[in-house]
């Protein structure tokens, strides 16, 4: 982590004319420029950038008068915040109990076999990211997964692999 923070301190400041940064500033004004607004502001920033780039984290720390290490600590504590950009396509497999009982692991096994991808990873070509969710609340449709915005209900390992291949433009 020390190395990461050192790198961050050598980074140039964020561009304040970037429209996304402007909206982060709006969020900071809404919630108040104090450390207790941190999680709300990080939510706003991640919505705008898709992840939390280190210069943005450093910027937020400075503006909210919190130390970068505290902000980094919060970012890495919560599952929702990501330090890495996602792939072009996102596959989210629900591993809630209902999905587990109905075979969510088989979906993950199939994806690992076909795409060499484990939860939390992105393919080297940045095409596909795989994530798991604790429960997406679609327990009646178990096992469930989402690919980008599309929900796959009562999905089989064969089906999910097929949809992913077509998303990635692989013919097989």
């Amino acid at each position: 982590m020390q190395a990461t923070l050192n790198r961050a301190s050598q980074m140039p400041d964020v561009n304040r004319t970037d429209p996304r940064i402007k909206r982060v500033i709006v969020a900071m004004n809404t919630y108040g420029r104090k450390p207790e607004s941190l999680i709300q502001v990080l939510h706003a920033a991640q919505n705008l950038f898709g992840y939390l780039p280190l210069p943005v984290i450093r910027f937020i720390a400075k503006e909210l008068k919190a130390s970068p290490s505290r902000v980094f600590g919060v970012v890495t504590f919560y599952h929702f915040f990501s330090l890495k950009p996602n792939g072009e396509h996102n596959c989210l497999v629900c591993t809630g109990t209902a999905c587990y009982v109905k075979g969510a692991q088989l979906l993950l096994d199939q994806i690992e076999k076909d795409f060499n991808l484990k939860p939390g990873q992105t393919t080297p070509d940045n095409k596909l990211s795989l994530q798991t969710a604790r429960c997406i609340g679609s327990c009646g449709l178990a096992p469930a997964a989402t690919i980008d915005e599309e929900i796959l209900a009562k999905v089989t390992p064969g089906e999910i692999a097929k949809v992913l291949r077509s998303k990635m433009g692989v013919t097989a």
Binding site: Q40, H79, V101, K118, A133, G137
Partner: protein, 563 residues
């Protein structure tokens, strides 16, 4: 806003409803994921095109319960519910039922299932054994319209409390109701309110815990999505009783729809003066803000949740002091669960005595359960406390699909345990569940059949607790990891009897030495499966066999589980 204005809105909505057919399209998360939005658009467009807005009303509603039959469309006042509605069926409902008053038997809810359908939905066993108090408006009102909520008597309980009752009266009423916290621990709600009330401080807070983290639980989500004003009203009443001036609704980031509807609800309530300064022209002022969680199970623990609202890592701290004495920013703080707040308005309107008659003497009222897993009717149900598990599974749930045999029901998620076949007649109340080694929990109820392997189930929950441990105390951080590794060994056929012994030792240590509820209850699924399914553990260890066929046995030691 005063009572006359409130009653005027109620009257207006009642009159609007009386002259019209009302198509209620379930817009709960489950139905939306099976295509309810398109059905809603189609019906609304169809009514508009036909110029029938004065005769037919089409509204989105909260969850109707029968999630795996979705998308659902209800037609009121006929008490008819249609299942698996798509564009074509929506057209037929519009043309034949809404316009011509003819029911379509083919598409009735539960048609084609083993239990069959009934002409009117409330007569079906799925609904008949239920009793809806918390969920009474879910599926009946438009959660995005405050007038619809006022139309069914909404905010009248708040008026009654502020204008006709003292804070002591409100607390006495809640105490008399016997309501216990629905987040899982079951602490008497009135007692908690009284404790916060007694702490004198110029600033107090009320928090709604909507960080529903148990996998397989979606009760709070459904209430937040389906009836957000009920929560706001409950929070406002609680805040009046304990003397809080500000409220925070802490909602999981995974629930964007709930957040959106709560935001709308707060805006609407503020606009007509039901939130904000001097509500109902009294001295009571109350404001609510939403705080979005960021994906940490431990934030369901109250002290961790408070840390998270303060913008910190969500780690718990030792209690006492309890939040009632020193909570958010060191001030006295009331924390209740979503379902608890949702029970308040009816208790004030109908009386604590009425509520205390429902359920059992020691556990009054109703409980919402999220029913899922290997069961025919998955979905959301509300039952009087004390109903037997058998009734829930076989009458309401319609039994186990594919002719398979019931094996166990899991309650309480990663903090709970399982109920085996010999205890199917267990009453669903706090004490009876504890007697068979599990807990009521927040309401997740997952049914497993013979294809589930119990050591693997224990491993699944242990992996969850290991991942979600915040890392602050050693017994939980290291203990869950060690137990997970031992369970993985068992599930891969590499374990010895000594490993099982070690596992049981660790379970007791983690339970007794952990700082917060997460660690203290993490061994529960393991201990409970050991209690009833020890033979499965022995088969894995001694015979290297998994009867359910889930575990891949005889794997080399180098291959570990998901981690």
């Amino acid at each position: 806003m005063n009572l006359e204005e409130l009653k005027a809105i109620e009257k207006k909505v009642r009159e609007r409803k009386a002259g019209r057919k009302r198509a209620c399209v379930c817009a709960g998360a489950g139905c939306i994921s099976s295509g309810a939005t398109a059905v809603l658009d189609k019906l609304q467009q169809g009514v508009k095109n036909a110029g029938l807005e004065n005769q037919i009303e089409v509204i989105p509603t909260g969850c109707m319960g029968a999630c795996n039959q979705g998308p659902l469309v209800g037609v009121e006042p006929d008490q008819i519910v249609y299942q698996k509605v798509d564009g074509t069926i929506a057209e037929q409902i519009l043309d034949q039922h809404l316009k011509a008053g003819k029911t379509l038997p083919k598409y009735l809810l539960f048609e084609g299932t083993a239990q069959g359908s009934t002409p009117k939905a409330p007569d079906h066993p799925f609904y008949k054994k239920q009793m809806k108090i918390v969920l009474e408006n879910c599926g009946a009102v438009n959660p995005e319209d405050i007038e619809d909520y006022i139309g069914v008597g909404g905010y009248q309980a708040l008026h009654k409390a502020l204008v006709h009752m003292s804070p002591e009266d409100v607390i006495a009423e809640v105490k008399q109701s016997g309501l216990r916290g629905r987040g899982g621990a079951g602490f008497p709600t009135g007692l908690k309110w009284e404790t916060v009330y007694k702490h004198v401080n110029e600033m107090k807070y009320a928090i709604c815990n909507g960080d529903e983290g148990d996998p397989g639980a979606f009760m709070d989500r459904s209430v937040l999505e389906g009836d957000p004003h009920r929560i706001l009203e409950g929070m406002a009443i609680a805040s009046y009783a304990v003397g809080a001036k500000k409220g925070y609704l802490y909602v999981r980031g995974e629930y964007p729809l709930a957040i959106k509807r709560l935001e709308m609800a707060i805006k609407q309530a503020k606009k007509i003066g039901l939130l904000g300064a001097n509500i109902f022209n009294t001295d009571f002022s109350f404001d609510v803000e939403i705080r979005i969680g960021a994906g940490a199970f431990v934030c369901g623990e109250e002290t961790a949740l408070i840390a998270s609202i303060e913008g910190k890592r969500g780690t718990p701290r030792p209690r006492p002091p309890y939040p009632a004495e020193s909570g958010l920013w060191g001030k006295p703080t009331l924390i209740n669960n979503v379902e608890t707040y949702a029970s308040i308005a009816p208790i004030l309107l109908k009386g604590g005595a009425w509520y205390s008659e429902i359920g059992t003497p020691k556990a009054t009222g109703t409980k919402v359960f999220a029913l899922s897993g290997k069961i025919n009717n998955t979905g959301l149900i509300e039952v009087p406390i004390g109903i037997s598990l058998r009734e829930i599974i076989f009458d309401i749930g319609g039994g186990i699909p594919d002719g398979k045999k019931f094996k166990a029901a899991q309650t309480g998620g990663p903090s709970g345990g399982c109920i085996p076949e010999q205890h199917l007649d267990t009453k669903m109340d706090y004490d009876s569940l504890q007697a068979v080694g599990t807990i009521m929990g927040s309401g997740g109820l997952i049914i497993m059949d013979e294809t589930s392997c119990m050591p693997d189930v224990a491993r699944y929950f242990m992996e969850f607790c290991m991942d979600e441990s915040c890392g602050k105390c050693v017994p939980c951080r290291a203990g869950t990891k060690q137990m997970y590794d031992l369970l993985t060994k068992i599930c891969q056929g590499r374990a010895s009897l000594r490993d099982l012994e070690l596992l049981e030792e660790l379970a007791v240590m983690v339970k007794e030495a952990s700082l917060c509820g997460l660690g203290q209850t993490a061994p529960n699924p393991l201990l409970s499966t050991l209690r009833y399914f020890r033979h499965e553990y022995m088969a894995h260890i001694q015979d290297k066999k998994c009867a359910a066929g889930v575990c891949k046995m005889n794997q080399p030691a180098a291959v570990k589980g998901a981690h």
